[in-house]
Symmetry: C2
Subunit: 657 residues, 2 copies
């Protein structure tokens, strides 16, 4: 078969060429070339994100479509997933079509509240006796230098001294391979004075790292910084990976950041990624996309930001949904999506960084938050811990709005969890102008009922570039409140009255323009179509019907809920009133709602910060009952009933209406 050369010119970046066989989809050719074109729909032609521009050559496709208007088509725009290679071709990949795994964002701790939020959580943990129990310590030793009469090897020289100091048997001490490899040169450089990081496990102690402890008093007079010990909390979301670097001694967050999950180019949802993982080499691609391409650069940047070396990270905790956990560990997850939906594991055994090739200290322990179901993973069990729902005296609800929606209901007495296919709408997926809650995202909206003009709050106070989850909830609630859309999510006002905010395209599809091109950060309008609203209503309906089904399963009325914890990276906050108004959350007094942000990352933090914390997450997970909604009688009826604004049974939202 003849090969065709396809060249990708990446906007603002390099140009890459690849030789592929004729008829290969352009999206696949891009992946082969290592060009991460975004394809949240998994290459089905439905999301329109993989729009590129053909500069030279030709492609086989079906002509103009919903996503490529005739004018744009004539100008060379194509959907990469719907175009096939026919010969030599050159395509421009605009920044908008790139999966955002390279966009690492390190938060400035001086201006975010993260440090205080975590400090408060740490105090709460301390109150529970958690923290300071890591069994890691730094000790300084000055060894007698060797001579011909004292020719003990470096390792034995160090262990002998350490055993003497610690008053333990030398056989109970070990030196990790990584530290052993550093030792000979370090000893000569430091003139046999060194700091050691020592880990205790029962009676066994292992030296994990060695540092020069000498403070050179000579002309240079450079003080050798004391070796800090760091930990790393990782939340692997389907869309976003968030990480916090932690000073293990103080428990303080020293850097925090996030990046898009590089796997997104294989699909926005876990199902498309599981399918990809089953293809030859697919599991390795997905593993690499999240580890080497995403976690590794984030480690690099976080360490750089905090002035910490990778080898100073001695403890890592990972919280992620079941599929992400599998791919992180390089374990096949294909049976997660096939009935009866069985993951390879819920709990993971003893794991170390070197087992996974993670770029931290090779002897660092890697703790993985346990999952309890195919669609209720370690991110949720971590969230159960950090929300402290497992300590509540009265029943509480935890709602995690990730790429899927997961719910936990219970208290110190019982806990049950379920997942619903809310889809990625809350993270900006499946929505034409949707985006994550990063700079330029509209996160809050108030609409003037008369003029239909929106007042927008934008993350980073930039020009708006799209709408994130919290903004969508507001926008739809406001469109509904102002009577611009009806309970079915359709635009209801007639032609003239709608303009200029509501317009219809040549296919008759209506959309609400929140931002006109001239005011937009992208130069394109930011609008919400009926299709977007449809997607969103299904998402919120999935959440609400899951709440109803779960409460019904244990025969609790809605009023019994004493607190609702809402988690997820859908914005810096969420307007609970709006969420109730559209029938997403149950109609409870607003003071019962608490937005707790990324509870998964916070749970991972607890696992890094405290051995006891990690144990508690594991034990708590074992006590959670998993409710499989898809096979639960009544769930589909609940879902259908919830796919209205606010609900087919308006009485449920009497107070909020």
């Amino acid at each position: 078969m003849p090969l065709c050369t396809v060249t990708f010119i990446i906007e603002g970046s390099e140009t890459r060429s690849v030789q592929v066989s004729r008829d290969m989809p352009l999206l696949e050719a891009a992946r082969k070339a290592g060009v991460a074109i975004d394809a949240p729909c998994g290459g089905n032609g439905t999301c329109g994100k993989c729009r590129v521009r053909l500069l030279k050559g030709s492609l086989a496709d079906d002509g103009p479509s919903r996503h490529i208007k005739p004018d744009d088509y004539a100008a060379g725009f194509r959907l990469a997933c719907q175009s096939r290679v026919t010969g030599e071709a050159e395509a421009l990949v605009p920044a908008s079509a790139l999966a955002y795994q390279t966009r690492i964002k390190i938060a400035d701790l001086a201006v975010t509240r993260d440090r205080e939020v975590y400090a408060a959580f740490r105090r709460e943990l301390a109150g529970m006796g958690m923290g300071g129990d890591l069994g890691l310590e730094v000790l300084s030793f000055t060894l007698p230098p060797p001579d011909l009469g004292d020719a003990a090897a470096d390792r034995e020289r160090l262990l002998h001294k350490a055993a003497e100091y610690l008053a333990v048997d030398e056989n109970a001490l070990d030196l990790d391979l990584y530290a052993l490899r550093k030792l000979p040169l370090l000893l000569r450089k430091s003139r046999f004075s060194l700091n050691c990081v020592i880990k205790s496990e029962g009676a066994r102690k292992t030296i994990l790292n060695v540092y020069d402890s000498a403070v050179s008093a000579g002309a240079e007079n450079r003080a050798v910084p004391p070796p800090r010990m760091a930990g790393l909390a990782i939340d692997i979301g389907t869309t976003t990976v968030s990480m916090a670097l932690i000073d293990l001694e103080l428990g303080d967050i020293v850097a925090i950041g996030s990046a898009g999950n590089g796997q997104i180019r294989y699909g926005a949802d876990v199902i498309n990624r599981i399918i990809e993982s089953g293809r030859p080499g697919g599991l390795e691609r997905l593993h690499t996309a999240v580890t080497r391409e995403c976690i590794e650069p984030l480690i690099e940047r976080l360490c750089e930001s905090a002035g910490i070396n990778r080898d100073q990270i001695y403890r890592v905790a990972v919280a992620a949904n079941t599929t992400m956990t599998h791919f992180f560990m390089g374990v096949p997850g294909e049976y997660i999506r096939l009935e009866p939906y069985i993951p390879a594991f819920f709990q993971s055994g003893a794991l170390f960084a070197r087992d996974l090739g993670l770029g931290v200290n090779p002897a660092a322990e890697v703790l993985v938050a346990p999952g309890i179901g195919s669609y209720v993973g370690g991110d949720i069990t971590a969230g159960v811990f950090s929300s402290m729902i497992f300590k509540q005296t009265g029943p509480a609800l935890l709602i995690d709005l990730g790429t899927n929606g997961e719910l936990v209901f219970g208290s110190a007495d019982f806990l049950m969890a379920c997942a619903c296919s809310a889809g990625p709408a809350f993270e900006g997926g499946d929505i034409g102008c949707g985006m994550r809650a990063t700079d330029g995202a509209i996160e809050a909206v108030v609409i003037d009922g008369e003029t239909m003009t929106p007042a927008l709050t934008v993350v980073g106070a930039d020009k708006p570039r799209g709408i994130c989850g919290s903004g969508l909830i507001d926008l739809i609630a406001e469109l509904f409140r102002a009577g611009i859309i009806n309970a079915k999510g359709k635009f209801v006002r007639e032609d003239a009255a709608e303009r200029p905010r509501v317009v219809r395209d040549e296919y008759g599809l209506a959309r609400y323009i929140a931002v006109f091109p001239e005011a937009s950060g992208t130069g394109d309008e930011i609008a919400l179509t009926e299709a977007d609203i449809d997607n969103f209503i299904r998402a919120k309906g999935a959440i609400f019907s899951a709440v109803r089904t779960m409460l019904a399963a244990v025969d609790y009325p809605v009023d019994a809920i004493e607190a609702v914890f809402v988690a997820g990276g859908i914005g810096s906050g969420i307007n609970m009133q709006s969420a109730i108004r559209i029938g997403m959350f149950p109609d409870l007094p607003l003071e019962k709602f608490h937005y707790i942000g990324n509870s998964s990352l916070m749970g991972a933090y607890a696992m890094v910060h405290s051995r006891q914390g990690a144990e508690t997450v594991r034990d708590t997970a074992r006590g959670i009952t998993y409710l499989e909604l898809s096979s639960h009688p009544g769930y589909m009826d609940e879902f259908v009933a919830a796919c209205f604004l606010p609900h087919t049974d308006a009485a449920l939202f009497a107070a909020g209406a």
Copy 2:
């Protein structure tokens, strides 16, 4: 600096080009190109092994030399180490100039005695209660298949069943990451029937591997072979790496083989390699040369030969000299060669295959035989074990003739060890026609005193290609006995009487021709020069003077020695009479001598075969006193006195003379 392109045409193999800076030695350019030119002298121009032929371009050098005669020089022959790049050049690398790390040799167990030798050793171990104590077992489980009502994950499903069967707590069980990665697909393929390899350590049990246990009874009717458990013993010699694959259940050797140590291109002795290891990237090069380029292909071939998969190897033991042990583990060894000669370690801690990237089961324990001195390494402590010298009631001597010579003297009451710089003569290094004891090596010689004609025994009954250690001992003993050379190793007969066996070249250097070109397997004569004899006499003198010095240190007479164990891969045997005659071994009754072959590999075997054996090697090592000869008073005098045939004090060899 302008770069020059140098091309190497490797005889019988591919052509490789490299761009290097002007003035780089051609040998270095070859290394950069990945062409493994042999340089046992470390590139000092003394061994003559790196002879290549310049085909195009020119090189800077000093003209004809001892190794390159004027005719050969005119024909383009050059020493790669003594030639510098001056511009574009193309050189032919003959097979004779290639380091032999690619020459893997797998012994045919049907025709070697290895299997019986090891079986006898195993019986001896069994008598000491060693063996059968590995804590590894294979168990079969059939799991209940999951359904929507029983959605436990694969790992927990397996651990639950195993815990039930073994009547242990589920928390005391773990599944190794490697096995976890295999599990999901295997369970579906095997219809939930599987064999597990389980390792016990105290109360903890870990499943290291999983296999399909189903014997398909259908149309294909292929029987699934039961999962064998294998171990691997590795002896890393400076010159040769030997390995034995072991059936862990039976203790039987299932494959045995060897290959040249790929590090040889960085020097024949450890000193040159340590120097290379200190250069940028050098340690990694040396580590890779022995692991990826030598051990890995040997594992591949041994497994292939025995029909065992790499992942079935659960236990590895390595015995090697101190420097080789450092490079195998990727630990800097630079201080071994600098006074006061301190290695990074003698004992190594807990190590697993995945720590070292060794291509066997990632969870396989890697045991490293402990060293006791910079030049008395784990190969010797392993040999102390396998020779059973540590159980002797009367004093015995262990002499290991490797690339260096190491000696151990003692009994169950005490043990002392020393190393002497015997050099690589016993393995064919430093000798013009020297070679390892492989096919074509002359391993035994008897000379007719009258005609000077030798009767030769050749390994593999091939045409002779060179002389190995045992052949050299015989040849020199015979030359001396026949009065062809004198006590100083010089040819003594006058011109006419010498021919045709003894000839002198244009520089006046005499040589004894053992094989004329027409009878040789290489087409070149096989001859021994006075320089070769010099090198050999220094080697044997080093051994004998070490024996004398060590005995003197503990005030034992030679007669007190009850047994002499001679180890090393210098031939299938060694003529002890010849060795005594040249003053290499003390003059004791022949029945006291025992040739025990590769005692290092056999010690590694014991460590693989028995936990108790590995413990004993470690404990025994701790009890050995190291005698540093180089700083020992009297050693130099002993050495000088021993550099004669047989010795300056002929009375020492009154019986054997």
